[in-house]
């Protein structure tokens, strides 16, 4: 669900037909802004009918430092789940490490026992704050093919102690498939599909290559769902035995023209047809019980990792040449294996979201 009027205008036919079974709401995007009455009422209606799920953006699961900002985020999350009933909540893989957190972008980290420990610590605190299941979404952006192939394993290890679940964002995987020349199916099969409770579908855009290779795929949520995703969707639904929700993501301001709106509705209906043809809805829902987890009162921090996360963010923001970044010495980031194009892409994303 998006708060823009254009989004409401585009999805009105679906709401009028009662075709929207569940809403996903990024509860932390309006933490500091006014929630319009119509949005409040709509979210409350879906919540009262147990059809609302939450999707966080700003917690920063793999940030090596624990700050007041994360404390505040958890406090506000508790207030939000006390106000509305969410069936579950989710967050993104990655860290957002900038001086001004709200202007950050999530960046990936490689699997390492220390990064895993930090991620688990953050997830414990997140799970402790709520009495509903917590899941993590795979990230579209990766610096190297190693990270692409490792993300499924990393996520699986992250959620094991909390009995958490995964969001499998198929467009994020499509981006990796295009940018690293790996078959979509090959990457999907690297994920623990039995842990997938939610699937995200969306479209994106192409960005020109600086190094003269083929264009890069970006997860910009501003276009139709690619046909390659539709071609695997049915089999993925069959493989994800614990799947409960399929969400189509689209930025509100990208649904302005009649054509954009019609294309969106066509996508929605096509997804519905595929779902209805699958055996997904006939499965039994898995029950969930909150696990009791013991963790230290003091949040885990790793100052070396924090310094590297900060240094990397600054290098990317300062537009330091990609080849120079590749040659730098990091302990936690294997920059020598990074793709030059992806370093430039990270710089572009940071420029897009970091106005200072």
């Amino acid at each position: 669900m998006m708060a823009e009027a254009e989004f409401v205008s585009a999805v009105l036919p679906l709401l009028q037909d009662n075709s929207v079974d569940v809403l996903e709401w990024s509860f932390d995007t309006l933490y500091h802004a006014h929630e319009p009455d119509w949005l409040r009422d709509l979210l409350n209606f879906y919540s009262e009918n147990e059809r609302l799920i939450g999707h966080g953006v700003y917690y920063s699961l793999l940030d090596a430092r624990w700050t007041e900002r994360q404390e505040e985020w958890l406090k506000k999350l508790k207030e939000e789940v006390a106000l509305r009933k969410y069936n579950h909540i989710t967050e993104h893989f990655g860290f957002m490490n900038t001086e001004n957190f709200h202007q950050g972008v999530p960046l990936p980290v490689s699997l390492h026992h220390k990064t895993l420990e930090v991620g688990k610590d953050r997830l414990y605190r997140l799970q402790e704050a709520v009495n509903i299941p917590v899941g993590i979404e795979n990230l579209a952006f990766s610096f190297s093919i190693d990270d692409v192939k490792e993300q499924g394993v990393f996520l699986d290890k992250l959620i094991e102690d909390t009995d958490g679940f995964l969001i499998l964002d198929l467009h994020n995987i499509y981006c990796q498939s295009c940018n690293f020349n790996v078959e979509l199916r090959e990457i999907i099969d690297l994920y623990p599909l039995n842990k997938v409770k939610e699937i995200h579908l969306s479209g994106g855009s192409w960005q020109d290559s600086v190094y003269g290779k083929k264009p890069l795929r970006r997860d910009t949520h501003d276009d139709v769902i690619p046909k390659e995703i539709f071609s695997v969707l049915s089999s993925v639904l069959t493989q994800c035995q614990n799947l409960e929700y399929v969400i189509i993501e689209r930025l509100g301001h990208t649904l302005k023209t009649e054509r954009q709106k019609n294309d969106f509705l066509t996508d929605f209906n096509q997804v519905k047809i595929i779902i209805e043809a699958s055996d997904w809805k006939q499965r039994d829902e898995k029950s969930w019980n909150k696990k009791e987890i013991k963790f230290s009162e003091k949040p885990l921090e790793d100052l070396v990792l924090f310094e590297e996360q900060s240094r990397l963010t600054k290098l990317l923001f300062d537009n330091v040449e990609a080849k120079v970044i590749k040659d730098l010495d990091f302990h936690y980031f294997k920059t020598e294996n990074w793709d030059l194009e992806m370093i430039l892409t990270a710089q572009n994303i940071i420029k897009k979201w970091n106005p200072y």
């Binding site: 205008s9 119509w38 994303i349």
Partner: protein, 70 residues
């Protein structure tokens, strides 16, 4: 699951507002010719400029549309 009528009405109003917000008509309107009048009053004091927005650490800056994950 049927959305209540009152809620649906407010959503329709939001949807209609999105559709009716059109760009400003660019057709030129005829300009009335007005005689120049000599200004005899004391000119107004220049207004102070708009203060620059200072971004504080860990503050919230509205960024328009979208989410940084995309």
């Amino acid at each position: 699951m049927k959305i209540p009528l009152v809620l649906m009405a407010s959503l329709l109003a939001v949807g209609v507002s999105a559709q009716t917000t059109k760009p400003v008509d660019k057709t030129k309107k005829p300009v009335k010719k007005i005689k120049k009048v000599a200004v005899t009053e004391t000119p107004e004091k220049p207004k102070p400029g708009k203060p620059a927005v200072i971004v504080k650490k860990d503050s919230v800056v509205p960024r328009g549309h979208g989410c940084p994950v995309c």
